[in-house]
Amino acid sequence: MSTAPHTLLDANELTLNMGPQHPSTHGVFRLILKLDGEKVVGTESVLGYLHRGVEKIGEQRTYAMFAPYVDRMDYIAAVSNGLGYCLAVEKLLSAEATPRAQVVRVILTELNRIASHLLWLGTHALDAGAITPLFYTMREREEILKIFENYCGARLTTHAFRIGGLQYQLYDGFEEQVQAFIDDFPAKLDEYETLLTGNRIWRDRLQGIGILTAEDCRKYSVTGPVLRAAGVPWDLRKTNPYSGYEQYEFDIPVGKNGDTFDRYLVRMQEMRESTRIIRQAVKQIPDGPIMAKVPKVIKPPVGEIYMGIEAPKGELGYFIVSDASLNPYRMRVRPPSFINLQALDKMIEGALVADVVMIIGTLDFVMGEVDR
């Protein structure tokens, strides 16, 4: 017991447990809040409920066998995970995907970025009490999932790519279906913006909430839309282009204040930019083989590489050490969600309880990737 004098006011510090089963934690994530009245004075994150030991599994599987596992980390953006993994192994093998495969990879990953952002938007708005946007975003996301399903039979854990190229040949009507989607989609984005961007309640809930400055982002190793909303135009598709991103014209949307509203604007704009990339790519899918010449049995030379890509949530990286055997010697995944989640404490500090769910939503993390 403390001997400090107590008044009724300073005696009511309350510890509130949120999760692991809580609708707005977006997965099994437990947050312990220390409250002073309505104000949050401290937080503690408890994770690991979905830990499956993906990195350990990676050491026990061959390079080709491990590829489907990566889809199960960030299951909202499985295509991006697969792209990062394939590019990493290709770098280790000094191989490159065929031109046709590269363009299709860009189309599918950008579609996946839109699908990921749509799920974020719907649930983020739902957290704020706006139910309608969720139905709308699910409707458009369904169109993207249909394209994935037609292409590879799976909607979420797609395993769309193989080391050296694509898993499948494109189906008849792929271009038309993608074209129809991107022709339609900008109008749908306008529709969401009519519902939200100028909405007084939406703005009041988002503006000035959960501010993370550029300097904080640097210290906390934060990447992705959260970093760009703080005004830093860092996007690996521009600075370290992969899979032919350098040939597409697109802008990097940035915010100014690094608050929740800016992160909303940045992600909305990113969806428009993704549409722009797909529009350019779908017109120029070259003919040719979908698989480069890579050995059937993959045994990269001894060495270690790191390959990072711009996934919807931030920088997704693979650090692979090869000992010239069939399995990777070490398979490290740099999960953007895990590392971005660390900044949660900083963002919540001093916020009100009601804002906590908005701040959790704006970070857009997926627990499957945080825990691996």
């Binding site: 210290k219 001894v302 650090f319 895990f338």
Partner: protein, 179 residues
């Protein structure tokens, strides 16, 4: 265990030496602490002694590499210094990257990077959780992904793929095995 059949291809990484003004500057600043500088498939790295890692990170923060991308460990049980610590640094907002590597034996304690990068906090906790490496000066060194009372460090090479802390599983989950 040491002898390998002689027909095998090279068993060391075919890295190219990397020498330029930048490396010379770092070498001059940290005399004798930079053991190697090389690049492999375009990824550059410095191999340094464990004692200078934090100072080097601080030095590089001022000289361009001011973003900690990732921190991880590779376990080589046959080596005398079995753990190879890998820090991946980048230029904030730029394309250049650099890795710092250092090697420590089992049981050695290394200085924490959290005073330089707050983001190193959870990365080091994960490394502690998975490899059992302790960090000096870490504000909150607990397990992060596994339960606090768990025995063993799964990413060490001697830890089996189906191995688990049977006592913990039995007493907390009431089952014989999670497999």
């Amino acid at each position: 265990m040491e002898e390998k059949p002689s027909i095998k291809p090279p068993v060391v990484m075919q890295a190219e030496p990397w020498h330029d003004e930048f490396v010379a500057g770092v070498q001059q600043h940290f005399e004798g602490a930079i053991l190697d500088s090389a690049s492999y498939l375009g990824d550059r790295f410095l191999l340094v002694t464990p004692s200078v890692v934090v100072d080097l990170a601080r030095h590089l923060q001022v000289h361009g590499f001011d973003f900690l991308v990732d921190f991880t460990v590779v376990d080589y049980p046959k080596r005398e210094s079995r753990f190879e610590l890998v820090y991946i640094l980048a230029k904030f907002g730029g394309s250049e990257r650099l890795r710092i590597k250092t090697r420590i034996p089992d049981g050695a304690v290394i200085a924490s990077l959290t005073p330089v990068y707050s983001g190193a906090n959870w990365m080091e906790r994960e490394v502690y959780d998975m490899f059992g490496i302790r960090f000096d000066g870490h504000p909150d060194l607990r397990r992060i992904l596994l339960p606090d009372e768990w025995e063993g460090h799964p990413l060490r090479k001697e830890y089996g793929i189906t191995q688990m802390d049977e006592k913990w599983v039995k007493s907390n989950l009431g089952i014989e095995s999670g497999q």
